[in-house]
Amino acid sequence: MEEERVNKPSPSLRQSFAQACPYYMSIGMTFDEFWYKESWRTIVYRRADDIRFEKDDMARWLNGRYVYEAIGRLSPVLNWGSKTGKAEPYLDLPFTKQAKPEEQQKTQREYEEAEIANAKILMSNLRRQFKNRPKLE
């Protein structure tokens, strides 16, 4: 058995390359490119395929998140025991367009500061009006 294995001729390079060729053709390489062009191109194609897979995987994951989010927002309708029974509206913007928590905090602070400034103006106006009011005899 061992002797058989030793005497078995190793596959030629052409056979080995021919076995690998369909895989590279499946990731976008042409037959001529595989056999007749620079050999390192296969590395680039493999990397490109890795990147494509990662991007597709990210898209699938994001899709799952949207479905999860949508089901979560619909859950009051789906839950028969719920008192409200109203579905929350769907996201206004996609996840990538939504403000980050830091930005949300910033806008909140800006809003508060504007409110304080408005209140100050209102108070000073009232104070002025109160000062200039006609005196009662």
Binding site: S12, L13, F17, A20, Y36, K37, E38, I43, V44, R46
Partner: protein, 128 residues
């Protein structure tokens, strides 16, 4: 006479891509590019070339390697012309060219079945 190859690296998001550049050879006011593709590397092996035995079969294999390196870019160059080029190369030049040609030859094989290049690389050392 012969321009030595340099390994070029292309920055990639994950890891660098190592490329062995072809050899440029000037002869009779003409520039020749020596390289291998999968077709010529297979033809070289089919012709009997064995890279493992190149050190012991110094009369046949280095010249055969040199000869087949022309086939990718210059398939119609006369064989005698290539032979005369080979004869004109000095010993050191020959050794350098053969070692660079071997890199190009192995690139065709390694680029086809590259390992995943993960962090857990096999460590090895020489005995003694």
């Amino acid at each position: 006479m012969a321009e030595k190859t340099t390994s070029k690296t292309v920055a990639s998001e994950k890891k660098e891509i190592e490329i062995v550049n072809p050899i440029l050879l000037d002869w009779d006011d003409r520039e020749y590019t020596l390289d291998f593709n999968r077709d010529t590397a297979s033809a070289l092996q089919y012709a009997g070339f064995d890279a493992d035995k190149i050190a012991t079969h110094t009369l046949i294999y280095p010249e055969q390697l040199f000869n087949y390196a022309f086939k990718m870019h210059h398939p119609n160059v006369n064989r005698r012309h290539i032979e005369s080029m080979w004869r004109s190369l000095g010993g050191e030049d020959r050794a350098d060219i053969v070692s660079e040609l071997l890199k190009l030859y192995f690139q065709t094989i390694n680029a086809t079945w590259e390992g995943d290049g993960g962090e857990k690389k096999v460590k090895w050392r020489r005995k003694g």
